[in-house]
Symmetry: C2
Subunit: 158 residues, 2 copies
DNA sequence: TATTGTTATACTCTATAACTATA
DNA sequence: TATAGTTATAGAGTATAACAATA
């Protein structure tokens, strides 16, 4: 829907607000919604969804991260994490090993298949992201992400 | 979690990426999640949630907008819209009136209570938004919203 | 007592398919 | 035939409460 002249450079965006911008909540919801559906479609060939890929990243990131810690990082409850890891285990992406130091905890380790999926997913995630942001300049893309990152860090501190 | 020096001005954000930024999907999900929970808490005294407020805005925005049209604008299915309008009607926020020109359609009109709620909600939404973005300068806040808006418009065009 | 993982359960938001009444 | 609203239903994602094992 539109033969309207596209905004040429995103750097000019904030200079004049000809039409009032939608509210932040609307923008965040729609952006997240659209991005997730694209990411899901792009990751589908790997047999995983965006959440599973995010979990793979976390479990690979720092060894010895417990389920609960990864859950917190992903912003989901630890009870939700259980089913997620269950499914990843069923798919042969990870293994659960009781922590020798604290046997209440699980070490969730990536299998070779998990590591391969993580690597392939990284490429797909990068492509999805740059495709999604392709109307923005490289600088504006970085600005957008940096701004969101700063806001989140501030929010986390309460 | 942090006694680290906070980034002073958000305008400096993109200049140097000392630590690699999280991926876009993560940033969008967390930002949306955090914002919605704040908005929900702030709107709770009015007896409505973020979705209902967004719907109020749409129904007030342009008179004669059908349920299906508003649903599309909100990014939800028209079947989902039914229950949403049901609840808003139960709360006395809106009325359904058959369209005289096309009786398949409903005119969803705001009641006096709906208009009052809309007005109060607007104040709350503005406060929530500026509070959420308070670590960003006014300019960077506008930049963030403008960037998201441009991306969404591009995505909508497919 | 507190914490990790777990289970059972339920709630919210969402969509698909099929119906109805109009057009 | 096609569309707007509706209903019934199911799925995904989520959380709360309670339990076992461990600390």
């Amino acid at each position: 829907m539109s033969s309207e002249p596209r905004v040429g450079s995103a750097s000019e965006l904030p200079l004049r607000d000809q039409a009032p911008l939608p509210r932040l909540g609307y923008l965040l919801k729609q952006a997240h919604l659209r991005f997730v559906e694209r990411a899901a479609a792009a990751l589908a060939p790997l047999g995983i969804g965006p959440r599973e890929w995010a979990a793979l990243v976390c479990f690979d990131d720092e060894h010895g991260l417990s389920q609960a810690q990864v859950a917190q990082r992903l912003g989901i409850d630890r009870t939700t994490m259980v089913a997620l890891v269950d499914e990843m285990q069923t798919k042969g992406l990870v293994t659960r090993q009781p922590d020798s130091a604290d046997r209440r905890k699980n070490h969730v380790k990536l299998t070779p298949h998990g590591r391969q999926t993580l690597k392939r997913g990284a490429t797909i995630a990068d492509e999805t992201e740059s495709d999604f942001l392709n109307v923005l300049s490289q600088e504006d893309s970085e600005r957008l992400k940096a701004a969101l990152n700063v806001v989140l860090q501030a929010v986390d501190e309460d």
